[in-house]
């Protein structure tokens, strides 16, 4: 860990907030994508069965 001196709180909080936001958008994007894919597959299967 580098010595961040008197600005340690500022630097660490900037990294924490940014990484949290980046990870948040990635997780949300992948979760919603999987959900949408599963929904579409289910509806397609149902439509196929019903002709």
């Amino acid at each position: 860990m580098p010595d961040l001196g008197k600005y340690a709180d500022a630097v660490l909080s900037a990294y924490a907030v940014s990484i949290l936001l980046l990870v948040g958008i990635v997780v949300l994007t992948l979760w919603r994508g999987r959900q949408a894919r599963a929904e579409m597959d289910a509806v397609e299967r149902r439509s196929g069965r019903n002709g």
Partner: protein, 250 residues
Amino acid sequence: MSLWEYANPVKFLRLSERVQPWLWAGAAICLGVGLVWGFFFTPDDFRQGSTVKIIYLHVPSALMAINAWFMMLVASLIWIVRRHHVSALAAKAAAPVGIVMTLIALFTGAIWGQPMWGTWWAWDPRLTSFLILFLFYLGYVALWEAIEDPDTAADLTAILCLVGTVFAVLSRYAVLFWNQGLHQGASLSLDKEENVADVFYFPLLVCIGGFVLLFLALVLYRTGTEIRLRRTRALMARETRSATLRAEEA
């Protein structure tokens, strides 16, 4: 082969799924290398101390916040002129990513500003235009959610995007138009003389590369999601119509 072929959702999804693993991997590598390099292996600045390390998050996110809006502008114009649904959905997909980039730029700017300027916030031209850009992003997403008919939503959000472009341009060039603000000039420029010192410049370039690749990966993935949601809605509407017809016949 024409670029317009990819206005076909199936072709777009096929290409997007081929490209995405490379984009995700590239983003992870560039962000990992750039941020570790910048955080652990670059010196403090003689004036800013260790707060200079915030540059590796602030500059790339601010850059992407503005460029995401320009990408949405291009996609909106394609929708207005050529009525390609994939372009309207790509603009919709990019907006939440733009919101996150703008939030990171605003947060890291405020966190850096407090020890350096002595204030979290100032009504400086660049900061103010950035805040307005953030509000435009929120309005854009809200408008998509508020309108049920997807084509009407795409039309109205495209117009909102054209209007918001004024603030995206202001966010980009405010430091050149006005000299009275607190915000310093551009940290990076094609003119080498305006750039930060090499020791900060190279890790910063790697981080910018990481943010660009992450943005592209997210937008492609989210556009695919929007296409699937739209197809699901269309299939469900067809099912409902068929069920109604069957009930009427019986």
